[in-house]
């Protein structure tokens, strides 16, 4: 069986949506962060397979993915740091707690 591009794109879209769903429903900030990772990874898959299947001549997608992974890692690190900071103050990692600033 030939594995077509679509077989990659659909799961990646599903993965993206799962991340989205998780991000929108989870209250725990760590869980939200994980969901965000899912979304970013879905994007990475997209870039990779598109490069592989459609434009095999160049490496743009691949390299983009590499950078995206690095950026995602940085984002996570920073987010975790802020969450820890917040946790120190409120002793919670619940996003619903963080809504004092509003209006």
């Amino acid at each position: 069986m030939e594995i077509k591009l679509l077989y990659y794109l659909v799961p990646s879209l599903v993965m993206f949506c799962c991340g989205l769903y998780g991000f929108l429903t989870r209250k725990n900030m760590i869980a939200m962060l994980i969901s965000l990772e899912l979304m970013l990874n879905a994007v990475d898959i997209n870039f990779t397979v598109v490069n592989r299947y459609l434009f095999p001549g160049s490496q743009e997608g691949m390299i983009f993915t590499l950078f995206a992974i690095a950026i995602a890692a940085a984002e996570t690190a920073l987010a975790i740091a802020i969450i820890i900071n917040l946790y120190r103050v409120t002793k919670k990692v619940d996003i619903d707690e963080a809504k004092q600033l509003k209006g």
Binding site: L20, L24, I95, A98, K99, L101, K102, G103
Partner: protein, 656 residues
């Protein structure tokens, strides 16, 4: 004619006004009074010189082939609108303006002199003289106007000076409201005048009287390419509005201005109230000069009115009704000045009717001449009556005849002169009123018997109410005067009385027709004794006799009469409720029905809309506030749906 004297005639009173107005507070009463008198006296002399030159010099610019001409002494551009449409300030000399010059300056001088005594010691004496000077200036400017807009300008100015003089006792609320009423009512009339001018000037392209009336000028041409009345009619090109020709509309509207100033029904209501002013002012403004401005206006435009039968008929009808109405009301008034005021309205209506019935084809426009004649004589005897009334009021400190009675013993000079005035107005020969009124009645009869009979009846009423007044003041019953018995006025008050009485006695014999006619050609007055004069004398005598019976001695006949009249007397006493009607219209309808709703509308609807917009923005701001809930989830929802919607809608719009 050199323009020096005419310019001085206008400038002296103006200067007087400025000097007295600006420097007055620094002057003593005497100085101010004498300055005013001398200024007016000089003006009078100059006016006489001018009039005499016009009438008697026989210079070719004034008279040609026995026909008196209109002569423009000077005409200075004042404000140009477009093309030929220019307001000019000028000096037009023709029979009626010369006549009015004489009348105005004479009466004004008398009043100036008289006021020195009458107003003695009043606060604001200088102001009073300043206003008198202003009025004289305006009135002179009005009569010598060379164009209708100049007339309008001075028309407004006399209105304003009348306002100032009526409200002279400004701390008296009644005087304030009377002056306000006078101004507003005449202003309303002037609105018509203005619109009339707009219509007329638009179609004819000129303001000049000489162009409208087309009276042939020296060397047989008119100024503006022979714009004669016929051309005026032609220039309208038969334009009509609501069934009448536009020219009729214009003339009727212009006449409306005259109705206001001359207190014709229904715009008469201000004149009786105007008696709140000092009595000499009433004599000058509200009897002799300003109130005849309406008559003068019609006379000025008479050749134009002749072109429109309808307008003349309108004038006649209004005049006839007013004459009768005012005469009836005059029979029932208590305030002697109001009696005189209504009598004035009635007499001016006589002049109006006379103009209205005048037709050149009958008797060479007798009505016109008669009207002007009556204007002249009436000015004299009515001023006399008013000044006499002033002397009486000065003596008893009351306006009501109830406070008078039997005064003939105490005030002989006043009595005699007043009587002469009464006889003159009643139309008893040989006093002046007889002659002029007789001419008017003849003109009426020649036009139609109905008008003649009607006006004869009014003439009878006139005799009745005047002698009612006379008897009630000088005979009837003597009230308790206390130990300050009334006495004759000082000389400067008596002198004008005597002078005016003399004039009233004699001026009827003037060959008026030789001087003033509608087309400048002399007209020979001949009294139609059998047809008109004798009957009218009989009517007058009968009316006087009736008055004598009723009012010579104190009796209860008048009271019975009033009771028997089934409310007619009360109605007449209340002037047929015209004031109440006006009050209703102005207060209830205009004030409460228009002004207040508009003010409310402005504050609540217009302003409310603007405030409402601001309120809406605030509300909207509150409403969308939950969007900013502070919850990251909701932010992300909005973000996501925003992005999807943006893509979706745009895709849909672009692809579909």
């Amino acid at each position: 004619m050199e323009p020096t004297i005419p310019i001085l005639i206008l400038c002296l009173p103006l200067l007087g006004f400025l000097v007295l107005g600006l420097l007055g507070p620094k002057m003593s009463h005497k100085a101010a009074g004498w300055y005013g008198i001398l200024s007016m006296g000089a003006t009078m002399v100059l006016a006489y010189i001018t009039a005499c030159t016009y009438f008697f010099s026989g210079a070719p610019e004034f008279i040609e082939g026995g026909v008196r001409l209109q002569h423009v002494v000077f005409n200075q551009d004042w404000l140009n609108f477009y093309k030929e449409l220019t307001i000019r300030i000028g000096f037009l000399l023709d029979p009626i303006s010369a006549l009015l010059l004489v009348v105005i300056t004479t009466i004004s001088f008398c009043v100036h002199l008289y006021s020195l005594g009458y107003m003695e010691g009043e606060k604001g004496f200088q102001r009073y003289y300043a206003f008198l000077q202003l009025f004289s200036f305006s009135m002179l400017g009005l009569v010598v106007a060379t164009n209708i807009f100049q007339m309008y300008i001075f028309w407004e100015l006399v209105g304003a000076s009348s306002y100032l003089l009526i409200g002279f006792y400004y701390q008296r609320p009644s005087a304030v409201s009377a002056s306000k009423k006078a101004f507003i009512v005449t202003r309303f009339a002037d609105l018509g005048f203005l619109i009339g001018i707009l219509i007329l000037s638009y179609f004819t392209g000129t303001f000049n009287f000489t162009d409208f009336t087309g009276t042939v000028l020296a060397n047989g041409s008119s100024v503006n390419d022979l714009v004669t009345p016929l051309n005026v009619v032609a220039s309208f090109g038969g334009a009509t509005f609501m069934g009448c020709s536009l020219l009729t509309w214009a003339l009727v509207l212009i006449f409306m201005g005259g109705m206001g100033k001359s207190a014709m029904l229904p715009l008469h209501i201000w004149l009786p109230d105007a008696m709140e002013g000092p009595t000499p002012v009433s004599a000058l403004i509200h009897a002799a000069t300003m109130v005849v401005a309406g008559v003068y206006l019609v006379a000025r435009l008479f050749p134009l009115y002749l072109m429109e039968e309808a307008a003349l008929t309108f004038i006649t009808v209004v005049g006839a009704i007013t004459a009768f109405y005012a005469a009836v009301v005059a029979c029932t008034q208590i305030d002697i000045k109001r009696v005189l005021a209504f009598s004035t309205i009635s007499q001016i209506a006589f002049m109006m009717v006379s103009l209205g019935v005048a037709r050149p084809e009958i008797h060479e426009g007798l009505g016109y001449m008669a009207s002007m004649f009556h204007l002249f004589t009436h000015a004299m005897f009515k001023a006399l009556l008013f000044l006499g009334a002033g002397a009486l009021i000065h003596a008893v400190h009351s306006n009501d005849y109830t406070a008078m009675g039997g005064l003939r013993k105490y005030m002989p000079v006043t009595h005699i002169t007043f009587l002469i005035g009464c006889l003159a107005i009643a139309g008893i020969p040989p006093f002046s009123g007889f002659f002029s009124k007789d001419e008017i009645l003849s003109a009426c009869y020649e036009n139609s018997f109905v008008w003649g009979a009607w006006m004869s009846m009014v003439a009878g009423l006139t005799a009745f109410y005047m002698f009612r007044l006379y008897y009630l003041i000088f005979w009837w019953d003597e009230p308790d005067y206390g130990h300050h018995k009334p006495h004759d006025a000082p000389w400067m008050m008596s002198l004008p009385l005597i002078f005016l009485a003399l004039v009233s006695c004699c001026c009827g014999f003037l060959h008026f027709g030789k001087f003033v006619t509608w087309n400048g050609e002399p007209y020979d007055i001949h009294i139609n004794w059998t047809g008109v004069a004798i009957p009218s004398i009989i009517i007058a005598v009968l009316a006087i006799a009736l008055a004598t019976v009723m009012y010579r001695k104190k009796n209860d006949l008048p009271a019975k009469f009033a009771k028997a009249s089934c409310g007619l007397w009360t109605a007449a006493h209340n002037r047929f409720y015209w004031d109440e009607i006006y009050l209703f219209i102005t207060h209830k309808i205009i004030f409460n029905g228009i002004c207040r709703p508009i003010a409310w509308f402005d504050r609540h609807i217009i302003d409310g809309t603007m405030d409402g917009l601001a309120w809406c923005a605030q509300r909207l701001s509150v409403t969308i506030r939950p969007l900013q809930s502070g919850n990251v989830h909701s932010y992300v929802y909005v973000y996501l749906f925003g992005a999807l919607l943006l893509g979706g809608v745009t895709a849909a719009v672009v692809l579909l």
